[in-house]
């Protein structure tokens, strides 16, 4: 009886254990399934924090079922949630490549660029073709991110697409395509970009010049100097900017050669580049002050002012005495930036010299005002009281106001 009872209890226990053993895996699976399901549901939760957490948890789970919902989450109205979804897709990795590549064809540009960004971070050459195809997209953000992603992947099958993108109408896209080419080509990037400086497409020439500037490889200097006289102003200006980044004094004379360019932007970039070259450019710029046209003189004066060497003071004063009003103005601004006290005596002398033309005397008064030197107050008051020319008196009065603390009697003007 006892044995029977014991056997019965043991039998029951065995049955229970068997049920648990059989039910165990199923229960575990259900729980896991419920976990993913719950997280997927949470992607639509009204609390953005919960949506973001769910996205990241799904990414960590590596469950491929989450890929499509996560791509959909790239449209979430909260940027944090979108970023978590992108990170989750990157975390899932290779299984995401196909769906993300397909998302590059989405109608939603926001989804497209984020898909491109995620593909770049997954960093797998299986995405090269899809990303290269996205480079001619209508949307500049998508083009930018396609280039950025290709730059991450560094697959040289993307070279042609990136070279095309180097001629993109959008400067940011051109810049990113240049970065991607540099990243993909590595040591060979400079040679490729130098070759592209002779491309038929002016935008591509601009992109190549821009990228060479960032690369700062001095072997590009000669090729960049050659396109300083390109027929497209954008190319000339980009070449000048790149030469400034190269900071090679070899470019000084060619850059001075375009200081008289008809395009303001080209002149600006040339001045900036010469300023970047700095002291080694001073001597040539001083020569340009003496020997060139007014536009070049004006630009040379500005560059000398920005370089700020004291040996430029005399030549700048000479330019003031001999140049046209614009050159005089540039010389004064430059002198004010270099060393006011060294230039002041020359301008005081000019102001008091009745043999000097009246407009030059008026500019000398203006210069003294710009120098803001208290020592000029007396001569300016003299000019204000005694100069025969009303323009000189007016200019002296304005200068005195600049110097400050001087009351200017209206009647004396």
């Amino acid at each position: 009886m006892v044995t029977l009872k014991t056997n019965g209890i043991l039998g029951c226990a065995l049955i229970v254990m068997l049920i648990i053993a059989l039910a165990g895996p199923a229960f575990g699976q259900t729980r896991e399934k419920a976990g993913t399901e719950e997280l997927l549901q949470n992607l639509s939760h009204r609390d953005a924090k919960i949506r973001g957490e769910a996205a990241w948890a799904l990414g960590k789970s590596g469950d491929v079922k989450a890929i499509d919902p996560l791509i959909k989450t790239l449209q979430d109205n909260n940027s944090n949630v979108r970023e978590w979804a992108a990170l989750a897709l990157v975390k899932i990795g290779r299984p995401s490549i196909g769906p993300l590549s397909a998302a590059l064809q989405s109608k939603n540009d926001s989804v497209k660029w984020q898909a491109a960004a995620a593909l770049g971070l997954i960093n797998d050459s299986n995405a090269t073709e899809a990303l290269s195809s996205a480079l001619p997209s209508n949307n500049s953000t998508v083009r930018y991110w396609a280039a950025a992603a290709l730059g991450q992947i560094k697959d040289n099958r993307s070279r042609d697409a990136l070279i095309s993108a180097l001629g993109d109408g959008n400067e940011t896209v051109r810049e990113e395509a240049g970065w991607a080419l540099r990243s993909t080509e590595g040591a060979g990037a400079a040679d490729l970009l130098i070759k592209l400086l002779k491309d038929d497409d002016p935008k591509r020439r601009m992109g190549a010049a821009q990228s060479l500037g960032i690369l700062a490889d001095v072997k590009a200097a000669t090729a960049l100097i050659e396109i300083l006289h390109d027929r497209e102003p954008g190319v000339r200006s980009q070449a000048a900017a790149a030469l400034g980044q190269l900071n090679d004094s070899l470019a000084t004379v060619p850059l001075i050669g375009i200081l008289g360019d008809g395009e303001e932007q080209v002149r600006r970039e040339a001045i900036r580049a010469l300023t970047a070259i700095g002291r080694p450019a001073t001597e040539s710029l001083i020569l340009a002050l003496n020997e060139s046209d007014n536009i070049t003189q004006e630009a040379a004066a500005e560059a000398l002012g920005q370089i700020g060497e004291e040996r430029s003071i005399e030549p700048l004063i000479w330019a003031f005495k001999n140049g046209d009003p614009r050159v005089r103005h540039a010389a004064v601004t430059a002198l004010a930036g270099i060393n006011r006290s060294l230039a002041v005596p020359s301008f005081i002398q000019l102001l008091g010299d009745s043999n000097v033309e009246s407009d030059r005397r008026a500019d000398a008064a203006f210069a003294l005002g710009e120098m803001d030197d208290a020592g000029a107050r007396g001569p300016l008051i003299m000019a204000l009281s005694n100069d025969k020319d009303s323009n000189v008196r007016m200019s002296a009065a304005r200068a005195l106001k600049n110097i400050g603390n001087t009351s200017v009697p209206e009647y004396s003007i």
Partner: protein
């Protein structure tokens, strides 16, 4: 009507541009998220990508510096913060990061240099003066530490951390009365400041007043019963007064 229309056009234009992001900033943002999720190595990779895109991204250098610090790569962290200060010598978070990492490396001289930059950048920031003062104390330069701590106290007369630190400087110079006075100020500001009770106990011990020293340690232990430093100090004071059994009891508890 026209202005309302303009407003909506502006909103539309802004919203259409809002998704356009610089790659360097985007990667930096993503990396920041990974840091918050404690995935530091992956975050560092993303910071590197951010800086690959734009080596002038100061924020990314600082964030990378913090990630490297958390990964205990102190030299790499210093390099990152140095890059940030080279890009902008007035960047307080970068100097602050440098001061912190050098402190962790126990390189107090360089930490003090960084802390000095912070006090120059913002002389009205009491925490910067306190930090510099503490670093001076770590190098045993209590006189200069007191000068820095005085600057902090001048900004906030009730700055308990600075008052406490100044008391430590006074203690180091055997000026126990002045130290006790400062510690009493700290306790008046914050009755739960256990460090002040403990330091007060030490000052009283230095004066030979073991009974009151033990009482001060007890106050510290009322706040934190398991605080080994106060327990050890109390044990020492008990031994000095011949209360060996009580001292032994504490020894067993530590």
């Amino acid at each position: 009507m026209k202005s309302i229309l303009c407003f909506f056009i502006c909103i539309f234009i802004m919203s259409s541009f809002s998704f356009c992001q610089d790659a360097s900033i985007y990667y930096d943002n993503l990396a920041g998220k990974l840091v918050s999720a404690k995935n530091l190595s992956e975050a560092r990779d993303l910071f590197n990508k951010s800086l690959d895109q734009n080596p002038s991204n100061i924020d990314a250098w600082i964030h990378k510096g913090n990630a490297e610090k958390a990964l205990r790569n102190l030299n790499a962290s210093i390099q990152s913060f140095n890059r940030a200060t080279a890009l902008n010598s007035k960047n307080a978070p970068a100097w602050s990061g440098l001061a912190d990492v050098y402190s962790q490396k126990r390189d107090y001289a360089n930490a003090t240099t960084a802390a000095t930059q912070l006090t120059r950048l913002d002389p009205k920031n009491k925490a910067y003066w306190l930090n510099k003062g503490i670093l001076q104390q770590m190098q045993g330069d209590f006189d200069n530490a007191t000068l820095d701590l005085d600057r902090a106290i001048a900004i906030d007369a009730k700055y308990k951390d600075a008052l406490y630190r100044k008391a430590l400087s006074e203690l180091s110079a055997n000026k126990t009365d002045q130290a006790i006075e400062l510690l009493d100020q700290v306790i008046a500001i914050d009755g739960k400041y256990k460090l002040a009770y403990n330091a007060r106990g030490q000052a009283l011990e230095m004066q030979g007043d073991y009974k009151r020293a033990i009482a001060a340690y007890d106050r510290a232990l009322q706040i934190d019963a398991k605080w080994s430093l106060a327990l050890t100090n109390k044990m020492h004071a008990l031994l000095a007064t011949g209360r060996q059994k009580e001292a032994a009891d504490i020894l067993l508890r530590i």
